[in-house]
């Protein structure tokens, strides 16, 4: 048939004065204003341009409403950090454990973008003679990004992602193994570039605060490795100890106060600024108020803005977690989240690595020539210094405890503090109390990383949060906390078979918010 078609082109078309038949027909079906990565060979942008894309997608930075549903309206609430005055036109929502499928889809779709982007990125890396450093940076971001989703849902088709249309899923231990493997590859590879001509060549393609510094990227990878190790420290202590010690004692080690934070610089508005200050959709949580006010913690003014509501004007006032709302204006002027539009989006703080090491040291693991108390106190100091605050030493000797919470607008929401944890290490008598201090201070230090804070709360039970006020779940008993997020329909519908196989094999047959994940042992 093709022959006939060509003949027609030659004979008929000139006859009717039209544009000629063209071989180009085969290439027409693509927008020429779009491009393929291969069009970006100049300045190696075919690989470099992926780095900002990947970095902007750990927490979705470019589109605030996506950040809102990726993390803010789930983990940021479940971690006790924040609470929303808005009811989003719903009788109840995630904050009441009535899980909103349409929101929670973005917990999956954002890291899925990372995974798709990595597939393309790895393909483009084939064009470079030497590409290990680029790949390493990509893998580190990929692990940080996907890990958040795995800790929210559980099993996922991670290792075979992109292989086809019906990919088998992995159980959580296998995914963690893959994470470790990828981080180890990155750590080893980047280490081998130090001192060579290639060191730091990624340069300003890296829009993070690390600005392409490979040693800092190695430290970030080690910190992430340490984070993963501590997560599995209860369920698989042997592997955890091995990985934690490797990370902490690595040639370049983990992030130290001097390295600063790993944060993304961007040209957008900080999503939390938009969500809180512009939309007034998120406010301080009552738990944060109870701990920070109780400790007279100066970071409260860094995290939150004083309430504008006349009833509590000038105070730092949080909203009781999980109350039912039907009128946004009631609580919208309680304390908002204190970010400027231009604030970088913090992904991992240096302070966290001290608290991770402190916990490992508490377990008796080899964290070098130091001990749990020193690491704990250095963690608090690193956090104070991150905000340019003084007074850490005095704070660390304070025996103040969390305050009772009161809501002047509704006394039903009031509660008494349920822990007497203090900042002062010396106040702890047992290792359990020391652990509570470490995790409680880590919780404060890593604010606003709700995803990590919620995961550590599930694993350790710290800080001791107040159960949500109105639990609308049919599965989570009253007084208990949500343990995972069921798979959203964007996963369950398109991958029905693989999904149900995974639920049966790995989650005991039910996809419930009351199921503990592998590392969350009782």
């Amino acid at each position: 048939m093709k022959v006939i078609y060509k003949n027609i082109c030659m004979v008929a078309l000139p006859l009717i004065f039209t544009i000629g038949c063209t071989e180009r027909m085969e290439d027409m079906n693509v927008d020429p204003r779009g491009f393929q990565e291969s069009d970006l060979y100049a300045d190696f942008q075919n690989v470099k341009s992926f780095i900002p894309t990947l970095e902007n997608n750990i927490n979705e930075v470019t589109t605030s409403w996506m950040y809102q549903v990726q993390q803010n309206l789930n983990a940021d609430l479940f971690s006790g950090y924040m609470m929303s005055a808005n009811f989003f036109g719903r009788a109840s929502d995630n904050s009441n454990y009535n899980l909103v499928d349409g929101w929670n889809g973005f917990i999956a779709s954002v890291p899925q973008t990372t995974l798709s982007t990595m597939l393309q990125f790895e393909e483009e890396l084939q064009t470079l003679a030497v590409s290990g450093d680029y790949l390493s940076v990509g893998l580190i971001i990929k692990v940080i990004s996907v890990h958040r989703m795995i800790d929210a849902f559980g099993p996922y088709p991670y290792t075979r992602y992109g292989e086809g249309t019906d990919v088998a899923w992995d159980d959580i231990p296998d995914i963690y193994d893959a994470f470790f493997e990828e981080l180890d590859f990155a750590i080893d590879t980047l280490s081998s570039y130090i001192g060579t001509d290639f060191e730091n060549r990624i340069g300003d393609a890296d829009i993070s605060t690390f600005e392409g510094n490979y040693i800092k990227w190695i430290k970030l990878a080690n910190t992430m490795k340490l984070r993963l190790a501590m997560r599995i420290s209860l369920v698989d202590p042997a592997t955890a100890q091995e990985k934690a010690e490797e990370a902490a004692n690595h040639e370049y080690g983990v992030l130290e106060q001097a390295d600063g934070i790993f944060a993304i610089n961007h040209n957008f508005s900080h999503p939390l600024w938009t969500i809180s200050q512009s939309w007034k959709d998120i406010q301080m949580g009552s738990d944060m108020e109870s701990f920070l006010s109780g400790f007279a913690d100066p970071r409260i003014g860094e995290f939150f803005t004083p309430a504008a509501d006349p009833v509590v004007a000038g105070q730092y006032k949080g909203i009781r977690q999980g109350i039912l709302r039907d009128d946004k204006s009631v609580y919208q002027d309680y304390s908002g989240i204190n970010f400027r539009q231009s604030s970088p989006v913090v992904i991992i703080t240096a302070a966290e690595s001290y608290f991770l090491r402190a916990e490992a040291a508490l377990n008796g693991w080899d964290m070098g020539d130091t001990d749990a108390q020193t690491l704990y106190e250095d963690g608090v100091k690193a956090s104070f210094s991150q905000y340019g605050l003084g007074g850490a030493d005095a704070y660390l000797t304070s025996s103040l405890t969390p305050e009772d919470y009161t809501d002047p607008k509704n006394s039903d929401y009031d509660y008494s503090a349920i822990t007497t944890v203090t900042p002062n290490w010396a106040d702890a008598a047992t290792d359990e109390e020391r652990l509570e201090k470490i995790i409680t201070q880590k919780w404060i230090a890593i604010f606003p990383d709700g995803a990590e804070a919620w995961a550590e709360f599930r694993r350790t039970g710290y800080p001791q949060l107040q159960p949500i006020y109105s639990n609308q779940s049919t599965e989570i008993p009253i007084g208990e906390f949500i343990k995972r997020i069921p798979y959203p329909s964007i996963i369950t519908s398109a991958s029905a078979n693989a999904y149900s196989n995974a639920i049966n094999s790995f989650l005991g047959g039910i996809d419930s918010p009351n199921t503990r994940l592998w590392w969350d042992v009782d």
Partner: protein, 1009 residues
Amino acid sequence: MKKNLLLAFMLIFAFESFLFSQEKTITGKVTSMEDESPLPGVNIVLKGTNVGTITDVSGEYTIMVPESGAVLSFSFVGYLSEEVEVGTKFTIDVGLTPDILGLEEVVVTALGIQKKAIGLSYSTQDVDGEELTQAKEVNMINSLAGKAAGVSISRSASGVGGSSRVIIRGNKSITSLNQPLYVIDGIPMNTSTLGQPIEFYYAVDNGDAVSNLNPEDIESINVLRGAAASALYGSQAANGVILITTKKGTKGEPKFEFSSTASWENPLMLPELQDTYGPVDPENSVSTWGNADNGSSSSHVKDFFETGSNYINSLSVTSGNELGSFYASYANTSSKGIVPENTMQKNNFTVTGSTKAYDKLTIEAGANFINQKIENKPYLGTYYNPVLSTYLFTETAEQFEYYRDNYEVFDPVRNMYVQNYPTAHINQVFTTDNPYWLTNKNYNESLRNRGIFNFKAKLEITEDLSLQGRINYDRVSDKFEHRVYATSSNVVNQDNGEYFTRSQIATQMYSDILLSYNKIFSDMVSVDATAGFSNTYSTSYANLFNSISTGSSLYFANLFNVRNLEPGFEKYETESEVLSQALFGTALIGFKNLVFVDLTGRSEWSSTLSDPNKPYFYPSAGLTFVVSELTGTNNIFNFGKARFSYSEVGNALPFGYANMNQPYTQGFDGSAVAPTVMPLSELEPERTSSIELGADVILFNNSVNLDFTYYSNTIKNQVFQVIAPVGFPTANAYINGGEIKNSGIEAVIGYKAVVGSDFKYETSFNFAKNKNEVIDIDDSLANNYYVVTPYIAGRIAEIRVAEGGSYGDFYGLDLAREENGDLLLNESGAPVPTGTDSLLYMGNPNPDWQLGWSNTFTYKNLSLKILIDGKFGGEVISITESVLDANGRSLRSGEARDAGGVVFEGQTFDTELWYTNTGGLSGVTSQYVYDATNIRLREVVLSYTIPGLFGNAIDKVTISAFGRNLFFFKNDAPFDPESTATTGNGLQGIHMFGIPTTRSFGFNLKVTF
């Protein structure tokens, strides 16, 4: 002067004619056999030559013929042709017989190919150009409403320049266009627009293609409903075709036609508000749950809407002789909407001409230019919507007047005028700026320029065989901009204002070549066959710069240009090219006038397929049996035919979908953004197969005619986007899936009564019933449905295409019940909605059946036409009412308060408790579902024609008065169920603070001279 113009024009085409050596002059008069009235404009041709003339106003003619052997052929539309041998005669008077049965009638079918009407195996419906101009609509397609069976027209609730949704024989495509293809003189129109709203925010109607045309240029409209009729158009025609035939030059002295229409419109229906109870906190809330002392307003709504007006003036001229003819027209449309400051200006220029050369060659060429500017189109839905702001005004009518006169005040701090309104910056899901601020300081402008140019050459190779080539270029350029002044609602706008601008240029180059053969063999077998090749090349280029909803603003307040945009604004540039080529053939073979076989085949190549070298072929076949040829005719049974057709139509893929290497784009900050969608596997073209059977009957001395059609069409392999299985390289994927069936019947019944010589009555019913079934949808979709418009907070329904359901079904919430059936109440005693996780079926907006009834009374030169139009069945939803209830604005909520509460199933609830829990943007859907059945007085036209004035200096003057959409005989919904938020597929049947449908009155003056 006129003659000079004509001469100049003719020079372009002029060819010398032949002169005959020995000639004589024949004169005569042509009359109608029916009533012996003179027939003007009858074509008289000297057989075997192109020498000809036409009759004048009094039916008289003069022609030079050779001394011997001359035969004159007389032909006129609607009459049987006649041939007369001249012989020795010098005077030849001829009476032509009306061709009531259409035996000789030739109809224009797809691609402009002419076929015998009697042989058509499918139903078509003609609408005369007069129907479009008598009670003129600015968007002329609205004039078709109620006049063509099986055609459903919904007008967009968007003010002047608004578009219309036209659906023929039901919705077919899940995600692609469901609107018909518009064809002008055989050539598909470029239907590019800036798009339609898919959501209720930032929603603006960007108009449509058909509304660009000047109705005065239109000779007739023919609706091809089924696939058999439109198969030759291939891809684009799966949704039916509206064939538009334009006016051409006619031979004779220059003839002018001047037409002037003035019409005025006002809202047909407005929501009912209460004015007893006032606001509680007017600075922070738009609700009126306050006490009865401070009151609110209901009358301001009526005051807000102004009287809309439309002035359409057009002048056309036509002239010609045996060498050629031309037609030229100019029309100006000036409209003002019912929302203040909403205006439209349109200019249409048309010129066409034709000439005959070397006896055998006809050349035609034409050009159309359209310039249209619409200002301040009201935004629909939640943002920038002055209608919403007006309905939710909480204070008194005097206050509203104050805010009208003082929508801006000078702010010495900012040294500029700022908005003055209590609810402008309330933090809520919608924006409630001062409506007058919105109409004055929320300026938007749509500019459209369109040029259509065509050239056609037709060569008569022999008497039976002709070759025709055509080329047509249709270019549309659109520009839209929106300026949001500083101090507009800070819910969606930044401090210094916002700016949005986009432009698009779309072109279509169409060309084809047709070889036609028409012959009758020994009065037994007739053949009308055409083979051809066509080439359609379309391009589109668009760019956009926008700060709205991006978090960025302007460097300097109220300075609206791209340079003044702060970083972070949205920007894009996109381009596309589509080439499709087709080889096709069609043949209508008749045996006597008894049996006709109609065959078509089309093979198409498209650049949008994954393998553009692989053609896809689709055929159609039809059979017509003229029963009356066999049975003979009598006074009762005048004519009858039965017809059957089967056809398949392939529909090429949307641009870019089939590409396995999807392009990258760039994010706001320049970063590369990887594709998020690709085909799951190789995509196939969609395919529609349909059958149609029917009968046409004429009875009782030609006074009754009946057309009956049954059809069934099924579209398979639909292309749409789904969420990809986890682990697929992209998050979303294009797939082939789904099967939708539409079946139904259409019937047209007409009756004509002539009483004496002066009075005539004509009536006609057109009936259509369509049943839409979603047979199958892709397995990868959750619960076997595709979501056209999702349920989100802020919309009380979800629109689905669900297996086992019907296209456009909407789902929502009901009141939750206890197991014993009692209402479930929460702690505060308020009703509770059912869960958003399991939405319930609430209805479908498409009517079950439609009926149009037209009546024309003619007495001498006076005629009265009345058109009544009903749509029966279907449901619609009103978010407007739900929001008005929740805010205590509705009359209903006022009356309930007066009565001490809302009584529901015998229980009395506090009014505020009830409505704040059942109403609102996320209200209980079931409480806001209305029966969409409506019957309306669609059109009334009274016209009077004065023939011949001032000694025939003026041929004809027609004056008419008309009204459209006058009132409902029945309508249970609190708004016009026919109006729609978008002419796209989403949001159908959901009404949200749209601009009310209007009732219009007007006058038309038409002078022919």
